[in-house]
Amino acid sequence: MLHLDLRHLGEQKLRERLPQIYELAVEYLGVDPATAPIPVLPAVHYTMGGIIADGSTASTLTGLYSVGECSSVGVHGANRLGSNSLTELLVFGKVAGAAAARHAVTVAHGNGAALGLLAEAARDRALAIVLRQGGGERIATLRREMAQSMEDGCGIYRSAQTMQATCDKLAELKQRCQRVQVDDHSRGWNTEWLLAIELGYLLDVAQAMAHSALHRKESRGSHQRLDGFEQRDDVNFLQHSLAYFTGDDAPRIAYGPVTITHSQPATRAYGAAGEQAEAERKTRETSHV
C-alpha cells in the first residue's frame, strides 16, 4: 500500500491550504494527515480527448458545440495538467455560449418533417429499452465488466495483447447490451432507464478509447505501452486519433493534424532527471536570446 506523507506541513497549514483533502482523509478514512500518512491508490480521474472542437468550440457536426471534459479543443495535448480543467471551463464556456447563441440566431430552419422522423426514431430506440420484457442482461453486470476490462487493457500500462482483449470484450458487451433488461418500467423519475441508455454510450466511448489506443504504436502522455513501443514517435504519430462511429461495429480510426503554437513535444521527466531537463531547457532559452 502506497502512502502520501503530509505530516511535515503541520495541522494549521493543512487545514488552511488543503481543507478538502484534510476533511476527506479524516471523515472517510479516519486518518489525520497531520499525524499519519494517507493511503493512496491510482484512480481514473479525467478523460483527455473527446468531441473534436475548434477554437470556437464548434464540432464537425453543424450546430454542435462542446466544452470541458467531454470536448477536445486541443489545449491539453496528451495529458491534462492540474487545475487546467477548471480554467478551460471558464474560458471556453463563455466562448461556447456566445458561439452557440450566434449560430442559433442566424441559422436557417431545417426540414421539420425529416427532423421529426429522426426524432421519432431516436425516441423509439430509447422506448424499446423501457418497454422490453426479459433479455436477461443486468446494467450493473455489463458496466462492471466494461470497467474491469478497461482497467486491465487500457490502464496505466498497455500492450497490444491487453488492448486487443479489451476491444474484443467491448464488442461482446455491445452485443449483450442489446438485451439489457430493466426492473423499472415507469415513466417518471425512472433513473434505471437513464442508466441503460447511458450504458450504450459508455460502451461507444470505451470502444473509441480502446481502438485508438491499440492503433497508436507509440507512447505519448497518458498512453504508455510496454510492448516495444515505449518511446514517442513524432514522425508517424504526432497526430490526433479520430474515432468515427460506424454503428454496431468497432469505430473507424483516422488521424488529424496537431496545431502546435508554443510548447514543443518533450520528455516529461521527474526527480533528478526532471531537474536536469529543466536546467538544459533554461540554457537553451537563454542562449537563443
Binding site: Q133, D183, H185, S186, R187, G188
Partner: protein
Amino acid sequence: MIRNAEPGRPASTPSLRPPAPPYVRPMQGWWQRNPFFVRYMVREATAVAVAMYALVLTLGVVCLAAGEAAWNGWFDAMRTPWSIGLHAVLLVAMVVHAKSWFDIMPKTMPMIVVGGRRLSAEAITRGGWAATGLACALLFALAWWWRP
C-alpha cells in the same frame, strides 16, 4: 407496514396510470421526533417562566407603591410554602433559560476579531456566564449591605 423485498426480480410492469402529485409529509408532532427539537421547545418554554417571574416582581413593585399593608401582604405571600415551591421551579427554569440562551448567543453575533484571532463561540458563551456571575455577585453584595 414493511414490505419485504423478494430476492431476485421485483414485480414486473404494474399497470401505469396518471401519476399522483408530489407527496407532502405532515408536520404534526415535528418537535417530538428529534431530541434537538425537544430541547429547543424546552428553551422556548422557559420564556414563560421568565415572564411569570417578571409578573411576580411587578406585582411586588405595585404593592410597594400601594402602601405598607399591601407590601406586607405581598411579602407574606412570598414566604408561603407554595410560593417557595414556585420560586424553586422558576429558578431552575431560569437557569435552563440562561444556559440555552448563552449557548445560542454566539450565533446572533457578527465575527469578532480580538488581537488578530477570531473570538470563538465558546469564548462568547463563557463571557455570558461571566457577566451573569458578576451581576449576581453585585446583587448579593447590595442585598447583604442593605440588609435590615
